[in-house]
Symmetry: C2
Subunit: 202 residues, 2 copies
Amino acid sequence: MAKVFADVGISLDGYIAGPNARPGNPLGDGGPRVHQWMYPTAAFRRMLSLDSGGQTGPDDEVVREVIERTGAHVMGRNMFDEGEVAWPARAPFGKPVFVATHRPRDPWVREGGTTFHFVESATRALELAKNAAGKKDVRVSGGARIIQQLLRAGLIDELSLHVAPVLLGDGTRLFDRNDSNLEQIAALASENVTHVRYRVIK
Amino acid sequence: MAKVFADVGISLDGYIAGPNARPGNPLGDGGPRVHQWMYPTAAFRRMLSLDSGGQTGPDDEVVREVIERTGAHVMGRNMFDEGEVAWPARAPFGKPVFVATHRPRDPWVREGGTTFHFVESATRALELAKNAAGKKDVRVSGGARIIQQLLRAGLIDELSLHVAPVLLGDGTRLFDRNDSNLEQIAALASENVTHVRYRVIK
């Protein structure tokens, strides 16, 4: 059955973005260091149509697997607002993205398969994303608040984290008093990052 | 050259102990779940002289390596106070332990090679531990505050963390606004825990 997985990069001290995240500084101060491992991978560059090159290896395979399993995205309003002015015309999703927001808006079609749909709640966004994903999985792409909310509601099946060797010291924490029970299902490390996956036990 | 390494188990959300840690509840509510992976290993059980059995495999090897490389320990006062009433007569260190505390006290000799020495500051504890360790490494065994303090002072060469598939939700965080630069030097996962090691770049 199709799964709902949250997939995000985090710093070793648990932040998904540095301090002062806002439109214009979407990952916060120092935040891009958390995703540094991903930018040169072939799969990521291919999604952005940057070129046909890029690095292969374990990090690239992880990115490729995440892209391949994803049939639709769920996103919080903050992540959308911060990303809207930062993403290129060919936004790095390539699939329908359901944005939970109280501000209604027509769908926004971007190049390369990304269409943003705006819906009134996180649970409704998840419902629509499941329909759109078909047999593929739904990726909850962030930010932190919507992941915390859906995790607390028991609606996330799996956490897929990419732990970067970075201490940000401050910023937006991935977890906020979440106390789910987890089972570690996979872990893989390259020189630059440790990828870990957990099943949420319900 | 001998290294100074901090070695601790942490929850996925970054806590080294659950809430309400105190003497009598040294790891805090839920805290033992963070170290669950370690208790059955052969190396840990051997150190406590529990028996000659226990599990072998990657987790056991990690515990064995940590024990073998350690020539002396540095410890904060809170960890000592909470552990003092909990550790067995054969305390699980097997080496001199230098406890940073403002309360002077005679050395406390335990079975199996553990002797606690009480000294007035973290930096003095580290200095004495380096002398005692000889060519072996000094392990900063916790708690969080002394690790944060020594990391901030640039006195820790390496972080060795054991990330358990546990969300505690609250408790004592390992990091507190630390912003050291790190290089990932090793990562190894078993079914139960992910071991990661980082060099602190100075």
